[in-house]
Symmetry: C2
Subunit: 348 residues, 2 copies
Amino acid sequence: MTADLNYELQVNLQERSYPVRIGFDLLSSGEQVCPWVAGEQVFILSNEIVAPLYLSRLKEALAGLSVNELILPDGEQHKNLNSLARVFDALVAHRHRRTTTILALGGGVIGDLAGFAAACYQRGVAFIQIPTTLLAQVDSSVGGKTAVNHPQGKNMIGAFYQPKLVLADLSLLTTLPEREYRAGIAELVKHAIIYSAELFYWLEQSVDELNKWNPDVLAEALYRSVSIKAEIVAADEREAGLREQLNFGHTFGHALEVVTGYGEWLHGEAVAMGMSLALQLSVKEGWLEPEQSIRVRSLLEALKLPTLLPSGLSADALRTAMTVDKKSTSKGLKLILLEGIGKARSTT
Amino acid sequence: MTADLNYELQVNLQERSYPVRIGFDLLSSGEQVCPWVAGEQVFILSNEIVAPLYLSRLKEALAGLSVNELILPDGEQHKNLNSLARVFDALVAHRHRRTTTILALGGGVIGDLAGFAAACYQRGVAFIQIPTTLLAQVDSSVGGKTAVNHPQGKNMIGAFYQPKLVLADLSLLTTLPEREYRAGIAELVKHAIIYSAELFYWLEQSVDELNKWNPDVLAEALYRSVSIKAEIVAADEREAGLREQLNFGHTFGHALEVVTGYGEWLHGEAVAMGMSLALQLSVKEGWLEPEQSIRVRSLLEALKLPTLLPSGLSADALRTAMTVDKKSTSKGLKLILLEGIGKARSTT
């Protein structure tokens, strides 16, 4: 199989700029990865679901380099300081130097952990993202947010640390469970909802093809959605303003993840639910026309995303969890609401 | 008592620039600290030796702000991921937000830990250094190197993260044990050895006053030595070249600390020993005239610093420990050697 690169875009951050390459069978080709490896050592972080499927293929592509790996259990509940310590132990045990490259082969959990480990190991080593879930391809692998969770708060411990390359190989999604695919679609749609009415309308027209996993439509949707994220990150890397809008649905979503325990809801599912709550509040605050809210919610539902809170869940518990959220300020909770399709704004 | 500011210098790093203020009784005055606090929350990290002496005085200076603290046991053996996790637990438990300021009140261990915690908590919060040892005042509090140790390698996990302010209050040294004072003198002298023959000659002439802790001579020595560090850091923040010279004596020194177990040798003592070994190697490699090596070593001895390896210590164990050091590259160990007084250079 030869690599089939469909799209390439650049995240423009001066000396920290890097490409996002989107296509099919990219993992099979050493030339897609090796030029971005810093030295002769590579350390792959993956998980027990992904490694049996793709690790050997990746290692073939890295032939000639000195490669070590660590395979973690799957799931958000493992994105913590203990797993991070295991990464450092393995790096030190295999004598990885400052010139090593850490490679994340997995979803958002693996990418966030590997990126944070790369940010801290010897005060910073090179880092490559090979996201294997749609959510990681469309969102978490791009933009340099890395972190682990604290039992009382998601992503409370982390760093802004950009990768050298994001390689989004859509062929890897053939083994992705339906539920994980939907979770990724949630973040993909989010970029349109907050930033591009044009993409939103195109997504409305593409619902059937997206629900059928049409590879060409998916590749275009991914490219257009990631382009929005790249533009926002380039404008505001450290989230001083504009980038906050990417948190649309996330304050509610994070609280949901904390209250139900990490791993119960997929992150993308929690964000879809959170966007639905943010839409309600946008209407209630008088920012958004009810018809627009209904239209956005209809798209989420057409894409089979959750928009209704389960009956057992207490709104009070959600509220308490939200006050620990990173978006909390002394003036109260900063929320991202919608003013119109393709137009988000912060409450403070 | 009113604050008595003797010297101020600036570490020039564009938007990350900050002042180093050197003087007496600075801790007693809120105006020396409060203008650099980011919001209304402050989190003080200190240790069991320093806190009983100075914490209440500092908290008085911070009157009106919301202050929490964590007091760790003293010693290099506590500069690890476990202590870091305790800091995060305390920050989350007291609901510290992105606008909080972490304040290090202690020596190098506390400063490195607090700085790394500030770099990672919510992906980065404000940070102030109030170093209470001479070593921290002259070296570790300036330049933004933060880290924790790994059992197999010193400072293996960390970040480059600059403080907003370094407040070097020489009055705090009155409670410093003699041995800690000597350890600080080692790093103070190092800056002269590698970078300034002029300061070196002045230190030779000031030996008696330094051994007597003459406060005015000490303040001038501190100012002149820190000025060198600030100049080097401003030229090469992330240690791509020039800043490596600050590691003079450190590869040997770190190995000594690892082999003997953290806490047995003070860091400054290990560095003095390491500089002595580096001098020997500089002569052996033909870089340095033997008379110059003797002159440097004489100054170290006049300042009562260790220059002879204890008989029980194996050179082999040191060598193994050195291959894990961060300065290790695929081409072998990178060492900083001396070409003359005030002139260091890297071996690779």
